[in-house]
């Protein structure tokens, strides 16, 4: 589904590369997570996928086609909810469809359906200022869904939330993922979050990096919090933390 082939990238301001000859692949319908210390280039991978940074070398393929030839292949959700404060929740959610010139009636129908699914139908006519942090992230997720792409790029979407809300949102997200069958590429620096959510974890350890170590989480879906206490999972978490600490001290 998504494949990086020999991708190298360097910001014009920097005198060192961010990544060199990077190869990795994410399968259809997979929940994959990228972890790494902050500043190691996780967000840059997303910016390359969604075209905010120009590809300098190599190829990024979605369904075997270079992304430059594609439109609306990925939907990006940043850390901050970035809801437009002057738009109602409903209008915020419709924004990607509005830009895609989707007919009004279809917009309304889809918006209603997704609001119901994320449990915020009662808030359709409210403004972002009336919602809590967790609710705003749900709205932002709904907006991301309705851009219509099958590949969702979620960049630390819960890192600004308090712990309990974050835990709730993680369970909620898995539920949504099972419902919508989208491919999710998720960024976090929280190892527990990565282990709980993903099937596959990619670890960035070097700078510049040319590969990401790939780790499979040995847990079936649906999951629950109790699973995190299994000895092999605790062990996995420890290993991951160790790897990240080593990379930070580099």
């Amino acid at each position: 589904m998504l494949r990086f082939e020999n991708v190298s990238f360097r910001y014009a301001e920097d005198d060192f590369s961010m990544m060199e000859h990077l190869n990795f692949q994410v399968e259809d319908g997979e929940f994959a997570t990228i972890i790494g210390a902050s500043g190691c280039g996780k967000s840059t991978i997303f910016r390359l996928i969604n075209g905010l940074e120009k590809l300098q070398q190599g190829r990024i393929l979605v369904d075997e086609r270079p992304v430059q030839e594609l439109k609306n292949y990925s939907a990006f959700m940043p850390q901050k909810d970035l809801l437009f404060p002057w738009r109602t929740i409903e209008k915020n959610i419709c924004l990607p469809m509005e830009l895609a010139k989707t007919p009004k009636a279809e917009q309304e129908a889809k918006c209603k359906e997704v609001l119901e699914q994320v449990g915020l139908l009662a808030y359709a006519k409210k403004y972002p200022k009336d919602l809590s942090g967790g609710m705003k992230q749900r709205v932002a997720f709904a907006r991301t869904l309705l851009s219509g792409a099958d590949l969702l790029l979620l960049d630390e979407p819960f890192s600004a939330l308090d712990y309990l809300t974050r835990v709730d949102m993680q369970e909620w997200l898995l539920h949504q993922w099972e419902h919508y069958h989208k491919t999710i590429l998720f960024i976090t620096h929280d190892v527990e979050e990565a282990v709980f959510l993903s099937k596959t974890i990619f670890i960035i350890q070097d700078r510049p990096f040319s590969k990401m170590e790939r780790v499979e989480v040995p847990l079936p879906y649906p999951r629950n919090r109790e699973d995190l206490k299994r000895p092999e999972i605790v062990e996995l978490k420890e290993q991951l933390i160790e790897k990240l600490r080593r990379s930070v001290s580099l």
């Binding site: 970035l82 437009f84 924004l95």
Partner: protein, 247 residues
């Protein structure tokens, strides 16, 4: 109302103080008392309200309208093209140091006593602050929001209308509220310099007659008019920007 009580009390106290001092000085051509001004305002109500207030208000209104249109257009142009911004922005900022009122007589020279000499002074005083404030509003657009729109495939035009314009709206209202008193001052000064009607002109005429209360009356009228205009804009602003958290 509670919130404004201290300010109202202070204003009342100052008026009383003024009244007392004016009573002590007892020379209306130097310092007329508030009550004398009110009486004069009433006596002069016909020429003031029927001739001079409308004259000044049309200069102010026309000047302000043109300023807003031109100022916003200039802000849009600077936002649209970085070359225009780099060329114009420093010039505009520098031009703010020119004492516009000092060169106002020139306009009287060029356009005579017609309304346009006054309108031009008003425009010159208000145009640049409006352009700069609105432009700064566009610049306040969050880059992440812009990028998010780009990932949705938005064009430059769509980014402008769906993001920059709403972002700049609070600045737009601030600009107008700031420009209203400035435009009133501009109009009054221009009339003072050369006109056949208007509150500035009227005030000057009373001056030559050493009628202190008569000088003040149109000034009071000007202030009240400006305050009412700012009040109306504030209400409009509140209606347009109700989504803001701070309000």
């Amino acid at each position: 109302m509670r919130k404004h009580l201290p300010a109202l009390l202070l204003a009342a106290a100052l008026l009383v103080l003024w009244q007392i001092i004016a009573g002590i000085i007892d020379a209306a051509y130097i310092l007329p008392s508030p009550t004398q001004i009110c009486v004069r305002l009433w006596e002069l109500r016909e020429p003031l309200f029927l001739v001079h207030l409308p004259a000044t208000m049309s200069v102010t209104g026309l000047g302000l309208l043109i300023s807003i249109v031109l100022g916003v257009l200039l802000a849009v142009a600077m936002d649209w093209n970085p070359h225009i911004e780099r060329a114009l922005y420093p010039v505009i900022v520098a031009s703010q140091t020119i004492p516009t009122t000092a060169i106002a007589p020139l306009f009287i020279l060029w356009f005579g006593y017609s309304i346009w000499s006054k309108v031009l002074v008003t425009i010159l005083i208000t145009f640049f602050p409006i352009a700069i404030t609105v432009f700064d509003g566009f610049k306040a657009t969050k880059r992440e929001m812009e990028e998010l729109l780009l990932t949705y495939g938005a064009s430059k035009r769509e980014v402008f209308f769906k993001l920059k314009l709403p972002t700049a709206l609070p600045n737009f209202f601030s600009a107008i509220k700031m420009a209203i008193p400035m435009s009133v001052i501009g109009a009054a000064i221009a009339e003072w310099l050369g006109a056949q009607e208007g509150l500035g002109y009227f005030s000057k005429r009373m001056m030559t007659q050493l009628d202190g209360a008569g000088v003040f009356a149109p000034v009071v009228l000007l202030s009240v008019a400006a305050m009412i205009a700012v009040g109306i804009v504030t209400v409009l602003e509140y209606k347009c920007i109700h989504w803001r958290k701070e309000i």
